[in-house]
């Protein structure tokens, strides 16, 4: 892949442990908006950005965070391969100042591989708050590479960073390729291999690093190296000869092949510890004092689960209550614009059909989507981002891991579910944080059981119209929030059930090993979160929905106005679906709305309304009471609403999600299963609810 725009662009890789602020640094330097959040594994794909300083132009590549370059998971492999073979001019290793010792392991590994390394100690403000003192000059001396302290969240601290980067690029000073001295027998073995490998690789890869990798046999990496160098080193007779010499030397020191990995890692860790001891002064008890207090409350045996549920319900309550008024206001404004548009078309003498298609079709659905969807999204997304920023999400995974373990899947699935609340497609991509392919597939296949943002407003609108009752104000909104929480819990329950079922049938296996980092809590940047989540997420999602809404509006209008015989195409289709839909407590229009809503779930309710409105008029647009009347006049009961809500929670994933699933799994079979599972679950549940209710009511 070619990254550079011009020959003298500098290609820089940004490496680092997960969740150290690489993406924040990247965003602030390039002005791009790679999404960030306080949990490990946020960046799953490399992002590329461009920025200029007074002296140079840079191409930055934000690679996925890894603890080590001895890859285990696909994204760690991607990170390592970019550092090995990406031909970067230099690497910036971003470290977390509050956890420098662990981070130094990756710094040392990167230094063995890349001849030009700049270390950026990020989150200096957090370190200061925790009374952690870092002697950057000492660190730089010990590592023998330039070191700079930053607070990537604060743009001002980046001026100094760019200056240092320019100086670093101009200095042309190479960093040492042997930052670690290993145990004596290993060093003697390396001494045999290094000179030979230096000759063989012609400097394309560092000899010492190659020697270490040949000793620590990693067949995947060896293949990559062979492709890159155009020769297979381990089949070269001279190299083979040297390798067996090295091994007999190691054997004499009682070192077995299996121990090589331990020996290398121990060497790295020891050196990291040494450097840390010289450069950092901290009281770890004190540094973690506040985290400890919060954790004791948020992950406690008694309060852990209730707090989780209360938080969820509280977020929903804020969303429902807050969205009510702006929703009505928006729809008033948008529908008065519709009148203006109609007058405009009339003044221009436009043909009536053109007006009807564009205004009554495309514009009206669009207006519905915006007024019903925008306010809840604009409240939910920022709230969710605040939670994400604070570091609470990994605690959810920690609290729920036991249940996932019972289902033979991975606790990190809780994180991907949380992402699914925003957008299922994002949740599916996020499943890359799960190492085991089997558990990753389970997480992908069950992600759409969590209602995404496109479905929330549908659920809240139905709850408010049919279940919250006539109780006014606070009581009714609390009731709605609790009901919505119940619906979401049903989705979570279905996730557990399906995961359990999958891991006992088509995806049999035992849970793999699991380590999850619980990052320090960070104070969320409220202002920035609001701005970013509205501009990046809300408008993005709304834009996608609008793209689907306008054509759907035209389609619905055409269907209502193309007549076959005496009835419109719309009523024919709805009538055709009616008997099927009736089994599941729905009606033909609802089912059709879900089918037409395949490109984006946001347009389901607007399409339903459009279809009903073809036959009736709405007295007061924007008022939920008027909407309720409209629905009731078309035969809706509480049961219809309940079944529609269940079906909204459990039906096929939208087209974007399915495409993402296909990309992630590379298999039509799994994509089809991901379509089938929630659909079958939804139909069965709706069927049961509708028929049991009919018996009793």
């Amino acid at each position: 892949m070619e990254y550079k725009k011009a020959a003298n662009d500098k290609l820089i890789a940004i490496a680092g442990n997960p969740n150290v602020g690489k993406s924040t640094l990247f965003n602030n330097l390039t002005g791009k908006n790679q999404h960030t959040g306080n949990w490990p594994g946020k960046t799953v794909t490399s992002a590329t950005g461009y920025f200029q300083t007074a002296l140079h132009s840079y191409i930055l590549v934000d690679i996925p965070g890894t603890y080590s370059l001895m890859a285990h998971s696909p994204e760690e492999e991607a990170a390592r391969n970019f550092l090995c073979f990406g031909k970067a001019d230099a690497a910036i290793v971003v470290c977390d100042a509050t956890c420098l010792e662990r981070n130094l392991n990756l710094v040392l590994q990167t230094m063995e591989l890349v001849p030009r390394v700049l270390v950026c100690v990020n989150l200096m403000d957090e370190a200061k708050r925790r009374h952690i003192q870092i002697d950057l000059a000492n660190l730089s001396e010990n590592l023998d590479v330039p070191v700079i302290g930053t607070t990537a969240r604060d743009k001002k601290s980046l001026y100094e960073f760019t200056e240092t980067l320019d100086q670093f690029i101009d200095s042309r000073k190479q960093s040492p390729l042997c930052p670690v001295t290993y145990a004596p027998p290993l060093e003697s073995a390396l001494a045999i291999l290094e000179p030979l490998l230096h000759k063989k690789a012609h400097g394309a890869l560092p000899a010492r690093w190659l020697a270490l990798r040949l000793l620590d046999t990693d067949s995947e990496l060896e293949k990559e190296i062979t492709t890159y160098l155009g020769q297979n080193l381990s089949s070269d007779p001279a190299v083979c000869q040297a390798l067996s010499e090295a091994w007999s030397l190691l054997a004499a020191a009682h070192i077995q092949r299996e121990e090589m990995q331990d020996l290398i890692t121990t060497g790295l860790i020891r050196r990291a510890e040494q450097i840390y001891r010289c450069s950092v002064q901290e009281d770890r008890e004190y540094a973690r004092k506040n985290d400890q207090k919060l954790d004791r409350f948020l992950t406690d045996r008694r309060s852990g689960y209730p707090v989780m549920l209360l938080l969820l319900a509280f977020v929903f309550w804020l969303t429902i209550t807050g969205a009510n008024y702006p929703s009505r206001l928006l729809s008033h404004i948008l529908f008065s614009i519709q009148d203006l548009l109609t007058r405009l078309f009339y003044l221009m003498n436009a043909p009536a059909w053109l007006h009807d298609v564009l205004v009554l079709g495309a514009y009206r659905v669009l207006a519905w989507v915006v007024s019903v969807m925008l306010p809840p999204m604009a409240i939910f997304f920022p709230l969710f981002t605040l939670l994400e920023d604070s570091g609470y999400l990994p605690r959810i995974a920690y609290n729920l891991d036991h249940v996932f373990c019972r289902c033979h899947s991975c606790g990190k699935q809780a994180l991907t579910m949380c992402m699914g609340f925003g957008c299922n497609a994002a949740g599916v991509t996020g499943c890359r944080i799960i190492d085991s392919p089997r558990e990753r597939l389970i997480a992908i296949l069950t992600n759409s059981f969590v209602p995404c943002n496109g479905r929330f407003p549908t659920l809240t609108a139905l709850i408010t119209m049919f279940f919250a009752g006539s109780a006014l104000g606070l009581l009714s909104s609390i009731g709605s929030a609790l009901l919505l929480t119940g619906v979401v819990l049903l989705g979570v329950l279905m996730t557990f059930l399906t995961s359990w079922l999958l891991s006992r049938t088509v995806l049999k296996g035992i849970p793999s090993s699991f380590t999850l980092e619980l990052p320090p809590y960070r104070k969320p940047q409220v202002g920035k979160v609001l701005l970013r989540s509205i501009f990046d997420r809300t408008l993005f999602v709304l834009g996608r929905a609008a793209c689907a809404a306008a054509p759907a509006g035209i389609l619905i209008w055409s269907m209502a106005n193309i007549h076959l015989g005496s009835s419109s195409l719309l009523s024919l289709c709805a009538g055709f679906l009616d008997p099927v839909a009736a089994w599941f407590g729905l009606d033909g229009v609802i089912l059709m709305a879900f089918i037409l809503g395949f490109p984006a779930n946001e347009i389901v309710i607007p399409i339903m309304l459009m279809a009903y409105l073809e036959e009736s008029v709405l007295t007061e647009p924007g008022s939920l009471l008027a909407l309720r009347e409209l629905l009731v006049s078309h035969g809706w009961t509480r049961l219809t609403a309940a079944c529609t809500m269940i079906f909204s929670l459990l039906h096929w994933p939208c087209s974007t999600t399915l495409l993402t699933i296909h990309r992630e799994t590379g298999s039509l079979k799994w994509t089809f299963l991901s379509f089938l599972l929630p659909t079958a679950a939804g139909l069965i549940l709706c069927f049961l609810v509708a028929n049991i209710a009919r018996i009793f009511l």
Partner: protein, 77 residues
Amino acid sequence: MSKHPCLNDMNPGQSAHVIKLNSSGSIRRRLLDLGLTEHTQIQCVGKSPSGDPAAFLIRGAVIAIRAIDGKDILVDL
């Protein structure tokens, strides 16, 4: 032969040193990458509501480890 206690025997607040890492395969590599080599100091900082997994402070970072993996990490409690 004396049986060493393992990670699961640690209660919140207790500290110990790693004596031996009996894990194998990918979890061994992962734990080593996190800095869990022999002699490393480790502190149990809490347990999840169900008791499993538990959280440990390892070289300045808090890592959750399941009991099934914790039993292979022997400590000098």
